[in-house]
Amino acid sequence: MVHIGGASMIEIGTVLPEKVFYLDRALLKQYADASGDQNPIHQNEEFALSVGLPNVIAHGMLTMALVGKYVSDFADGAANVLEYGARFVKPVIVPAGEKVDLTVAATVSEVVDGKISLTLSATSAGVKVLGMAKAVVRT
């Protein structure tokens, strides 16, 4: 059962409402602990700079987890998410003391056999961070 902001029609080209997530250093630490990925580029600014990054960056998989939440909400639960993939094209940069946005939206790209395909977009500070982001959910 899929619901989309009260709208009843879902067809190819339907644009889903945008949602904004916010990331800060505390969330990166929380994700590191929840996922087991303790790579210091996601927590230690000095280390991140030393390997040529502009600042601490979010885990690509944290970005993907948040966009996955958007997909689960659309699908009326994670149990209805059948496929989900993305390419990490640019990092989400998370300076100390700041909350940065992750702005997510989607367009319906296919509706067949009880399945809906979504083409997802994800930007941070206006920069596209995921490419080829797609999901298939059960209706």
Binding site: A65, A79, Y84
Partner: protein, 129 residues
């Protein structure tokens, strides 16, 4: 450098992994998910990335994990993961190439529950030049 003979090899995870409610709860808390009955779609990366690290950094495979970045990721979920699931993981190196000095490795993982695949995942990992 990755040993090119590793391409096509499948590595079987030795231990079964039991999923706890608390690890699902912790993952859900990060993304603001209040429904913790099933694991979020990307939850199993928690298992597969550490398995990949164990397989790919074996001396006879030889990947340099310290310069690794994640290129892309895909999940196909056949059955949602829940607390109490006992899973095994195997991983296959599907392809390997070198482009502009970067090593690009595609790895597939399959998580099984009682012999049936529950999640297949594909990761492209890039070792920066």
């Amino acid at each position: 450098m990755l040993n090119p003979d590793s391409v096509g090899r499948t590595f079987a995870g030795t231990d079964s992994i039991t999923i706890s409610q608390s690890e699902i709860d912790s993952f859900c808390a990060v993304i603001g998910e209040s429904d913790t009955q099933v694991a979020p779609p990307t939850f199993t990366i928690r298992i597969t990335l550490s398995q990949f690290e164990a397989f790919l950094t074996q001396p006879d495979v030889g990947l340099d994990w310290s310069r690794l970045v994640h290129g892309d990721q895909k999940f196909e979920i056949f059955s949602p993961v829940k607390a109490g699931d006992v899973l095994t993981c195997d991983a296959t190196i599907e392809s390997y190439r070198v482009a502009a000095g970067n090593e690009i490795v595609s790895v597939r993982s399959d998580l099984h529950r009682a012999g049936a695949v529950v999640v297949s995942a594909w990761s492209t990992l890039v070792v920066r030049a």
